[in-house]
């Protein structure tokens, strides 16, 4: 296989590591030295061979370990995966999209053989082989959404479209930045975004919703979102806040470079063909600050962005307490020289 999968953990002993390859292809989210909300959607077209934007669904060295972490979280809390009864068809749509894309884009890792509705799926990294009948739930070990998202990195929300709104009616959510599917399920676009400060005053959500309602089949889009996470935790859920929230207090000037991570979400949106729902994959990438600053442009820029970020945003993103320490650490890597436009390393 072309990718060497890491044996690593995202909990307790935190053996998660990024290789040099993973550092260089990290989806750094800031295209300039400051940050403010914007809809910032662009077509999800293949970009830069080797980058996380090249494939429909990026598979990297963390794949096997992330899937083990998902299974661990689900065993403790099965409500991380839910699908309201009318969303089963959207689950099949997503299964088809992921299987077809992965088999086409990673033929050495995944195979899909189709004979009408009789499908044969082979997932080599996870050692899974499954024969099933497409659109017949009784031929899979669990529902189609759960089945395929136990084999795909990132969280997945399935949004039903009706009444000129989008409804969070199904999802698999185990790698989230402090939001809960169990809490949000059944909510509409404005309801689930209600906690976000400032953005609604800017009219961001009205514009974004209008765009998404008209998102077309065959024309997916993507955007990046980001936050800060202490320790490489995929599961920073409200359900487990009592376990991870306290870890934010363990940051010291000595360990900030290794414990503090920039967390970036590559969010994509696809119109699903049979259900007319939207698939909303949210893929999480983590990088510790001491790895990030090995790219000089990123070290300089992150320092400036975090230093100048409005207080409401630092509070909402959950690092207001540690911001002075993080900014102090990053200042060592900012010599004040200008940075080049765009997100990629020089």
């Amino acid at each position: 296989m072309t990718i060497q999968f890491n044996d690593e953990t995202f909990h307790d002993d935190y053996t998660f590591r990024n290789s040099d390859w993973a550092i260089q292809r990290f989806p750094f989210p800031f295209h300039e030295d400051s940050y403010m909300y914007s809809v910032n959607l662009e077509p999800h077209l293949s970009l830069r061979p080797g980058s996380v934007y090249e494939k429909t669904f990026d598979v990297d060295e963390h794949y096997v370990a992330e899937m083990k972490d998902r299974a661990r979280v689900l065993a403790e809390d099965p409500l991380r995966c839910q699908s309201l009864p009318h969303m089963t068809l959207a689950g099949w749509d997503l299964l088809e999209l992921i299987m077809v894309s992965k088999a086409r884009e990673y033929p050495d890792l995944f195979e899909l053989h189709r004979d009408g509705d009789r499908w044969h799926w082979i997932n080599k990294p996870l050692g899974i082989e499954q024969k099933f009948v497409f659109l017949d739930e009784t031929t899979l070990p669990c529902g189609p959404l759960e089945y395929i998202t136990r084999q795909a990195q990132g969280d997945y929300a399935l949004l039903d479209q009706r009444d000129d709104n989008l409804w969070m009616d199904a999802g698999m959510v185990t790698t989230q930045a402090d939001w809960s599917l169990d809490f949000d399920i059944g909510m509409n676009f404005f309801e689930w975004h209600a906690p976000v400060p400032m953005a609604s005053e800017l009219g961001v959500f009205q514009r974004a919703l209008k765009f998404l309602l008209n998102l077309q089949q065959g024309a997916p889009v993507r955007r990046l979102n980001w936050t800060m996470t202490v320790n490489p935790l995929l599961d920073t859920s409200p359900e487990n806040y009592h376990k991870w929230g306290v870890q934010k207090t363990a940051l010291t000037p000595e360990n900030v470079g290794s414990k503090q991570h920039l967390r970036v979400e590559l969010q994509t949106l696809f119109r699903l063909p049979r259900s007319n729902a939207l698939a909303f994959p949210i893929r999480c990438y983590l990088i510790r600050l001491e790895d990030l600053v090995t790219v000089p442009k990123w070290g300089r820029r992150l320092h400036r962005v975090l230093r100048d970020l409005p207080e409401e945003l630092a509070t909402y993103k959950g690092f207001i307490r540690n911001r002075p320490m993080i900014v102090e650490y990053l200042s060592q890597f900012d010599d004040g020289t200008p940075t080049s436009p765009g997100v990629f390393p020089d």
């Binding site: 077509p43 009864p85 009318h86 969303m87 068809l89 659109l135 039903d160 479209q161 009706r162 009444d163 209008k210 309602l213 008209n214 077309q216 089949q217 065959g218 024309a219 063909p273 049979r274 259900s275 007319n276």
Partner: protein, 321 residues
């Protein structure tokens, strides 16, 4: 949709005269690959090269959404129309190459419904044909009430009655048959969703009756594509370049923009989806708003226009393009 949107190169593989007014067209991909799947109620925009004019008309997909071999549409000839349906009827032959858009659905089934109650009038039957096939595949519960002018002009009535004798009801205008709508709506089980597609008057009648009978708006779905209507010629000025574009009598503003090389956004081209909404920078004259998208307040404000169906009469119109 606009330039850059996914389009499909197709070949016409079948043209069937369904009756005196309606022809059915079958399109297969010219490269031999499969068509995209779609959901019942979706439409495609057909590009027609009619002499020097490019016409872009939306038509509901009527084929089985699971059938990846082809798309099928039915086109009713409209002698009073601006020419799209006449072009399809007179010019399009088996073997012709054409371009279709990817499917777009502005009339999808609400999959929460316990029962789907469908009301069709005339050529408005087409989206229901695809929805019925989709529901059949998932054991969905539907009932169709279909009103046609005469038996001879009723498209697909025989096939529907033969396949679904208990679920399809056909009404002939010339025999004085009419849908007993009030009784029909009152007798529906909880969880029923109502869908209507047909002439404007029918849609208004069904929506009004449902509202009077206490149906929640969320359970009533309709699709009405407005065809752009002819009107007095006018000019529109682009704020970004200062370019002045004439809009002809039988042309929509959107078509005039496209003909002038402006990459303007659109999806339904029928005043329903909102995609072509355009800001008005200044105007001296009166708008002829014909869309279903802008609210009455927005129309009164005069700072937005939907160029797919709406027009302008007056001295000057400057838009933000």
């Amino acid at each position: 949709m606009s330039a850059g949107t996914k389009k499909i190169d197709v070949t016409v593989t079948e043209v069937v005269e369904v009756n005196d007014l309606v022809k059915r067209f079958r399109f297969e991909r010219s490269d031999g690959a499969e068509m995209p799947t779609f959901s019942g109620g979706a439409h495609t925009v057909v590009e027609m090269k009619d002499g020097g004019i490019t016409r872009l008309n939306p038509y509901s997909l009527m084929s089985d959404p699971r059938d990846r071999s082809a798309f099928m549409i039915s086109v009713r000839r409209d002698e009073q129309g601006r020419g799209g349906s006449l072009f399809m009827h007179r010019e399009v032959k088996v073997g012709d190459r054409m371009v279709l858009s990817y499917p777009v659905n502005l009339f999808s089934l609400d999959l929460r419904a316990k029962k789907h109650l469908m009301i069709a009038g005339g050529i408005g039957i087409t989206p229901f044909l695809a929805q019925i096939k989709q529901l059949e595949g998932m054991n969905g519960h539907f009932e169709l009430h279909y009103s046609v002018r005469t038996a001879a002009l009723g498209s697909y009535t025989e096939e529907l009655k033969a396949h679904y004798p208990d679920r399809v009801h056909v009404y002939h205008d010339d025999q004085g048959e009419a849908i007993a709508l009030g009784d029909l709506l009152d007798g529906q089980p909880l969880g029923t969703h109502l869908y209507v597609c047909g002439p404007k008057g029918m849609i208004e009648w069904v929506c009004r009756t449902a509202e009077e009978r206490g149906w929640p708006a969320e359970a009533v779905h309709y699709e009405e594509f407005l065809a752009p209507q002819s009107g007095k010629p006018f000019s529109v000025t682009l704020a970004k370049t200062g370019k002045v574009i004439p809009v002809g009598e039988h042309q929509s503003m959107l078509e005039a923009l496209e003909a002038a090389g402006v990459d303007a956004p659109y999806l339904c081209r029928g005043g329903a989806c909102g995609q072509c909404e355009t800001d008005v920078v200044s105007h001296d004259g009166a708008f002829v708003h014909r869309d279903h998208w802008l609210t009455d307040d927005q129309k009164a404000c005069g700072n937005k226009i939907m160029p797919c169906v709406s027009r302008f009469e007056g001295r000057s119109l400057v838009i933000d393009r």
